[in-house]
């Protein structure tokens, strides 16, 4: 794995020296646990690229295209204080309905999972804490499984008897998650979560980086509350100040996320925040550096 990672870092450095600086810094943070966490994932990803007749260079180019988009969005964000899109329709027209953009964006996001320190930190916290809930989880729901990294590890950590359901609006994500998890224990539903209804409720719901993609995050959290057992747990993640081509709901700070969580009838059992850059809290505020927030939630007792 180290060989692949070194190659990726060197190529990024040569093609985009400014971004290469950040990635190189991230690499100094990664430890042995990082290698354990991602060696299987990266192997699966490279196999996936091969089956699609694509190379690692292609994936790196996709990642850098995504970074280029993010830089443009970041400049715009600093000019206006807003994300460039605010409705689902806008994002759909710009991104989701454009297969060419979706293609490089998807590969870019996969690469970011093992190149960005804050993504790794949050994922590590999740897999560290999930075993604490394992004995109480008979049913697991994931909304927006993306490339299936959280799902894969949840399958490994939770009991063999646990049932797994995934709801995702994107056929590409479902296809990827199926390939990456390679398990017949998961029941996939290609649909909008608002159209998803089921008689039994879930013991555990994971929803990583979805809230910022919807116009009404409160409505989505309330839906999660409806889908959750009385004693169940939700794990959500979402970023503040993260301008990208498909983010439309802006959280200016963690306090806004916490307030929304409480409005949806949840209490925060534990939470974590990771800055996307290695900067002091003062500099983070001055430069509106994105914070990736994650929390385990319980229903507020009535």
């Amino acid at each position: 794995m180290q060989e692949h990672i070194n190659y990726i870092v060197q190529r990024i450095e040569s093609l985009n020296p400014l971004h290469g600086k950040k990635i190189k810094k991230n690499m100094t943070f990664f430890d042995e646990a990082y290698e354990i966490t991602f060696s299987g994932f990266l192997k699966k990803y490279i196999t996936y690229l091969e089956t699609e007749n694509k190379t690692l260079d292609y994936a790196i180019d996709c990642y850098l295209s995504m970074i280029a988009d993010m830089n443009v969005e970041a400049v715009d964000f600093f000019r206006t204080g807003k994300y460039s899109s605010s409705t689902f329709q806008e994002v759909n027209d710009r991104v989701y309905a454009k297969p060419g953009i979706m293609e490089y964006y998807m590969h870019g996001l996969i690469m970011s999972q093992f190149l960005w320190k804050h993504h790794y930190q949050l994922f590590s916290s999740y897999i560290e804490q999930l075993p604490n809930y394992a004995s109480k989880i008979g049913s697991y729901l994931e909304i927006g499984a993306g490339h299936g990294l959280y799902l894969s590890r949840s399958l490994e950590i939770l009991n063999n008897e646990t049932t797994f359901v995934v709801v995702d609006i994107s056929p590409t994500s479902i296809d990827l998650a199926k390939r990456f998890t390679d398990s017949d224990r998961v029941n996939f539903h290609l649909m909008d979560v608002f159209d998803f209804s089921i008689e039994t409720k879930f013991d555990f719901i994971t929803m990583g980086e979805v809230l910022e993609h919807v116009e009404e995050p409160l409505k989505l959290l309330t839906k999660l509350n409806d889908l959750l057992n009385e004693d169940g747990t939700v794990f959500i993640t979402t970023p503040t100040n993260a301008p990208t081509i498909d983010h439309l709901y802006l959280f200016n700070n963690v306090t806004e996320i916490q307030a929304l969580i409480r409005s949806a009838g949840f209490e925060i059992e534990s939470e974590m925040s990771f800055l996307s850059e290695d900067v002091s809290p003062e500099k983070a505020e001055k430069f509106k550096v994105s914070t990736l927030y994650g929390a385990f939630l319980k229903k507020t007792k009535k």
């Binding site: 020296p17 400014l18 600086k21 950040k22 830089n71 400049v75 600093f78 000019r79 430069f287 550096v289």
Partner: protein, 80 residues
């Protein structure tokens, strides 16, 4: 606009944004020569330069500069 004057203004912006009084830019300066000039601060520098010179860079321009000289040339061409 004179190149020298533009460079002087850009130098001042780098000092302010990167909070480093010792920065001395030349046309040949690259991100490798300035420790804190990275992908995050590049965005801040771009926005600060836009405000100072009252102009807007295109997405292509923001990502095309390989050194300070190219950045200055771009500023001058937009201010003509």
């Amino acid at each position: 606009m004179e190149k020298e004057k533009a460079l002087e203004k850009v130098n001042k912006i780098f000092i302010d944004v990167l909070d480093n009084e010792e920065i001395v830019l030349s046309d040949a300066t690259t991100a490798n020569d300035v420790e804190d000039w990275d992908s995050l601060t590049h965005i801040q520098l771009v926005v600060a330069i836009e405000r100072e010179f009252n102009l807007r860079f295109t997405s292509m321009e923001i990502q095309s500069w390989t050194n300070v000289g190219e950045m200055i040339d771009c500023i001058i061409s937009k201010n003509k």
